[in-house]
């Protein structure tokens, strides 16, 4: 029964949320409350905010996340391989060699096309 091993973690999640809520509330309740229009404005080093929150950001962030996701999935496939590798020997080595070389082509392609550049 594996699930029982996760019981302490479940309890920890529950208690963690409870304590974090208590401390958050304590901070809000104990601290002074001197509200003011200027205080609640977006922070801009003392200047009035020019409100550029709504601007669109660079697509590079999206590209990075997308390429990360693909390689993350690849690495996930390597975990069972790494654990079982001793039993698989050369066959396992060849399998993953093909798998990774194909994906390194992907990395090389992204590199060549400039997807990894940040101006």
């Amino acid at each position: 029964m594996i699930a029982i091993e996760y019981l302490p973690i479940l309890i920890l999640i529950g208690l963690g949320v409870v304590f974090a809520t208590i401390f958050t509330l304590a901070g809000i309740l104990i601290g002074p409350k001197r509200r003011g229009q200027n205080k609640e404005m977006p922070f801009e080093s003392g200047l009035p905010s020019d409100g550029l929150v709504g601007q669109r950001y660079d697509v590079k962030f999206y590209m990075t996340a997308l390429i990360f996701l693909i390689f993350d999935v690849e690495i996930v496939f390597l975990y069972p391989w790494a654990v079982k590798f001793r039993e698989m020997g050369w066959f396992g080595f060849a399998e993953v060699l093909i798998f990774m070389v194909l994906l390194l082509f992907g990395l090389a392609y992204a590199w060549k096309k400039g997807a990894l550049e940040w101006e």
Partner: protein
């Protein structure tokens, strides 16, 4: 194999000691099997208290250490006023933050703004429960410990992104996006380094990885592969922690405070605490994977030396080794200048990632030829 003669393995071989590990959860479940209800609850409470205590101690000690070290690196004294040599400074800091006003900006998304620091802290606290601090000081020992740590810490990115978005401030948002892009990029090579150690030790369970080092730590046993993995892991975790030289997301001169610009009071402290606990988790992982965890430092054949080393309890060994790596991370901060964002990204995608992939194959070859000591 002749190369081994050049590097006599007997020096690196440890005294033959077998360690018996019992986790707190195992004690609880064995008490449960004996129908000892108070024992079960007692051990569960012990585990929780241990985690909470570790969190508190880490918060107090690491923040004090950071400030004191920062002072001495800059030829200052650091905090000196509160207590002997400022030893109570972190407690005073915590109390001050508790008494500060908690400001939620008017345009912020209130619920997410409140929730993000909690998520950030939870993502680190949940890893504390599975770190093997000594053969008996570990709350749970999961079969898939290594992936668990990566999975739980990867939630920290979510917390940072939500914090930045919900603050409704362009500096917060930009800082969060930079932090997100940086953390996920470096997570790849950190995971690849972990994978090398999984490959060498053949297990994902943290205690088993430590046990596999009873005849020598992996950093010596695995030739260059372990060293490459260690260096890659050290660089990537520094980047994942957003610490100098990778602290672009918090670059004061351009982004004010980064994703936590709009946080104040105790909820700012949550982010701060999460960062310091993450630093400990990273150091503890380095110690567990590469430096034998709670194993003492033995030199093969030197029985007198080994018996003295064996007198030091394993918990102290773990704490000492982790403290060294925490010190290293703090040292980095006062040594290296901040990278530019293009340098940061090309370091990961063009250097560390290809090196990590090649390193995996080298590790696989070492395992196939059984070329480790």
């Amino acid at each position: 194999m002749d190369m081994l003669d050049f590097f006599p393995s007997s020096i690196l071989q440890a005294a033959d000691t077998s360690w018996q590990t019992v986790t707190i959860a195992q004690r609880a479940s064995s008490a449960f099997r004996d129908h000892d209800l108070s024992g079960t609850i007692g051990y569960l409470l012990l585990g929780l208290l241990f985690t909470a205590g570790l969190l508190t101690v880490l918060g107090l000690v690491l923040i004090y250490a950071e400030r004191k070290l920062a002072g001495h690196f800059q030829c200052r004294l650091g905090p000196m006023r509160v207590g002997w040599h400022g030893i109570l400074q972190s407690a005073a800091d915590g109390l001050k933050l508790l008494l500060k006003e908690d400001i939620v900006p008017e345009n912020a998304d209130k619920l997410l703004h409140l929730g993000a620091p909690v998520l950030s802290l939870m993502a680190t606290v949940l890893t504390l429960a599975i770190l093997p601090l000594s053969p008996t000081l570990q709350v749970v020992d999961l079969n898939i410990g290594v992936i668990y740590v990566t999975a739980v810490t990867s939630l920290g990115v979510l917390a940072i992104l939500i914090a930045g978005w919900s603050s409704n401030n362009k500096w917060s948002l930009l800082g969060a996006m930079r932090a997100g892009a940086q953390i996920i990029s470096y997570e790849l090579s950190a995971t690849l380094s972990l994978l090398v150690m999984v490959l060498l030790s053949g297990s994902l369970q943290l205690s088993e990885i430590i046990q596999s080092q009873s005849d020598g730590w992996w950093i010596w046993k695995s030739h260059l592969v372990g060293v490459i993995a260690f260096v890659t892991f050290l660089i990537s975790t520094t980047a994942e922690l957003n610490r100098t030289p990778f602290d672009l997301p918090e670059g004061e001169s351009e982004l004010t405070g980064g994703f936590h610009t709009e946080y104040s009071g105790l909820r700012f402290a949550f982010f701060f605490l999460a960062e310091f606990v993450n630093m400990f988790v990273a150091s503890a992982l380095i110690v567990t994977l590469f430096f034998g965890g709670w194993m003492p430092f033995y030199i093969g054949g030197w029985d007198g030396f080994n018996s003295i080393m064996g007198l030091i309890p394993p918990g102290i060994w773990f704490a000492g080794k982790s403290a060294f790596f925490i010190f290293l991370l703090m040292w980095f901060r006062w040594t290296f200048p901040r990278l530019r964002i293009d340098q940061l990204m090309s370091l990961e995608w063009k250097i560390l990632l290809p090196v990590g992939f090649i390193n995996i194959f080298l590790a696989a070859l070492i395992v196939l030829f059984e070329w480790h000591f």
